[in-house]
């Protein structure tokens, strides 16, 4: 796979430690939601550092997006979040990965479970789902430390406003329930693990097995589950889905290790 120059044309600050980079890659072949790309940086002495990043959105012509979370002591992430200037170039190659993908053409209903920056490839699926003419139900369970750590906060808030009436589910936890008659049959559940925003009836804490079993779509051969986040989170959530009756073959996982930088 060939390395191609990519120009940084815009950025968005997503949180104190995460930045979305909009890159222009002439001739980008397109990609499927969930795929990633390789990024290569070059130092003045010719040294290269390479990392993989999930694509955060469907391609818009030759414009693509990645969201980079700064990792402590990260060699590459620190540069991409804090230094890499608009108008400058780096190299990319991709798209890569054919397993952790959802497409409007082939995809049916989906359960998306994100831990922290594991939201990124799932956001690409969610964005593709919202653009598509389909009523396939989507459930997004997003575990995040604090409201300040929430990625794509405005978009998620807009999603709630557009479709949905915030409603307490029978157990009393906040669940944003989509209208099954509309295109926006998308539910969003936010689990704050450390600090919840004022008014959130769910006390801060880790996502539980019970929540996963209750809020995911019922197990079915037509329901695919995608879990992305740190290893311990993915192990837990994937195991909870299996316990809830989802077939292991219908559960696709991607892990962000603590290292990677």
């Amino acid at each position: 796979m060939r390395w191609q120059p990519a120009e940084l044309v815009a950025t968005r600050t997503e949180s104190a430690s995460a930045r979305t980079l909009v890159l222009r890659v002439p001739g980008w072949p397109g990609h499927r939601p969930g795929q990633h790309l390789d990024v290569r940086l070059t130092a003045p002495d010719g040294y290269h550092a390479e990392r993989s990043y999930s694509l955060a959105a469907p391609a818009d012509g030759d414009h693509i997006e990645i969201t980079v979370q700064r990792v402590r002591d990260g060699e590459v992430s620190g540069y991409l979040v804090d230094v890499f200037p608009v108008g400058a170039f780096l190299e990319v190659r991709g798209p890569v990965g054919g397993w952790f993908v959802w497409t409007p053409e082939t995809g049916g209903a989906a359960v998306l479970i994100a831990g922290g920056s594991g939201i990124v490839p799932l956001a690409a699926m969610l964005r593709a789902r919202r653009k598509a003419v389909t009523a396939n139900p989507f459930r997004l369970l997003y575990s995040v430390r604090t409201p300040e750590d929430l990625l794509y906060a405005d978009e998620l808030a807009e999603l709630r406003r557009a479709a949905l009436t915030p409603a307490a589910d029978p157990i009393g936890e906040v669940c944003y329930r989509g209208d099954p008659e509309s295109d926006e049959n998308i539910d969003l559940f936010l689990a704050y693990t450390r600090t919840a925003p004022p008014g959130d009836p769910r006390p801060p804490g880790r996502l539980t097995r019970t929540e996963i079993a209750r809020l995911a779509l019922p197990p079915s051969p037509a329901v695919a589950c995608y879990v992305c986040g740190p290893t311990a989170f993915v192990e837990f959530a994937a195991d909870a889905l299996v316990s809830a009756g989802h077939a292991p073959a219908m559960i696709r996982t991607e892990r962000f290790g603590p290292t990677g930088g």
Partner: protein
């Protein structure tokens, strides 16, 4: 354009000649799997080698443990770019397992509990280069890392070292495994940086 990534300095350059191109060193042990971690019951665990005529050779857990045990001390390289030096394992050499297997086959397709597969030439499993390991760093191999037993083929990218290994089919024709069919390299030599299909 004056060059790529202006202002990027990078870390001090690793001096190790044990680091393949495009890799960086880690101290911890990252986990990568495509699905949930299967829980495998040792009482029902079985490892099989099936040759090209369909003849099957099988080992139970106690049978595996009764074979000569080796302690490979190796470097491992993941296609996601981390490398880990000096990992210590215990297990059975594939040479011991293949010793009495009749075959003229040239290819092997590894399969795992949970449905994962990966392919490699049979010769890469021979001559002291591959093991079925059950112990890492003196402890039972954790399920996240492929326990109760995984394949260890450290001279290839680590996705070839199938976790939760269940069996090997010996084949006259190469058959692509899970990641290989999804665009990753059929062989995966880290020293030639064979990450993707056309590398």
């Amino acid at each position: 354009m004056t060059g790529f990534s202006p202002g990027f300095q990078g870390r001090p350059r690793p001096q190790s000649d044990r680091l393949p191109p495009g890799q960086y060193l880690v101290e911890d042990f990252p986990v990568l799997s495509a699905g949930p971690t299967p829980r495998v019951d040792l009482a029902r665990w079985q490892f099989t080698i099936t040759n090209e005529t369909g003849r099957q050779y099988a080992w139970s857990w106690p049978q595996l443990m009764s074979l000569p045990q080796e302690r490979p001390h190796v470097d491992i390289h993941c296609v996601t770019r981390w490398s880990k030096l000096d990992t210590r394992w215990q297990g059975v050499s594939l040479d011991s397992l293949l010793e009495n297997v009749e075959t003229q086959a040239e290819y092997a397709l590894i399969s795992s509990y949970g449905g994962y597969t990966t392919n490699l030439p049979l010769e890469d499993l021979m001559d002291g280069r591959a093991w079925i390991v059950h112990t890492y760093d003196g402890q039972d191999l954790h399920p996240e890392h492929g326990g109760p037993a995984r394949l260890l083929v450290p001279h290839l990218y680590f996705w070839k070292s199938a976790k939760w290994v269940k069996g090997i089919r010996l084949l006259d024709q190469d058959e692509l495994g899970f990641w290989e069919a999804a665009g990753y390299h059929a062989y995966g030599d880290p020293w030639r940086e064979q990450r993707y299909q056309d590398d």
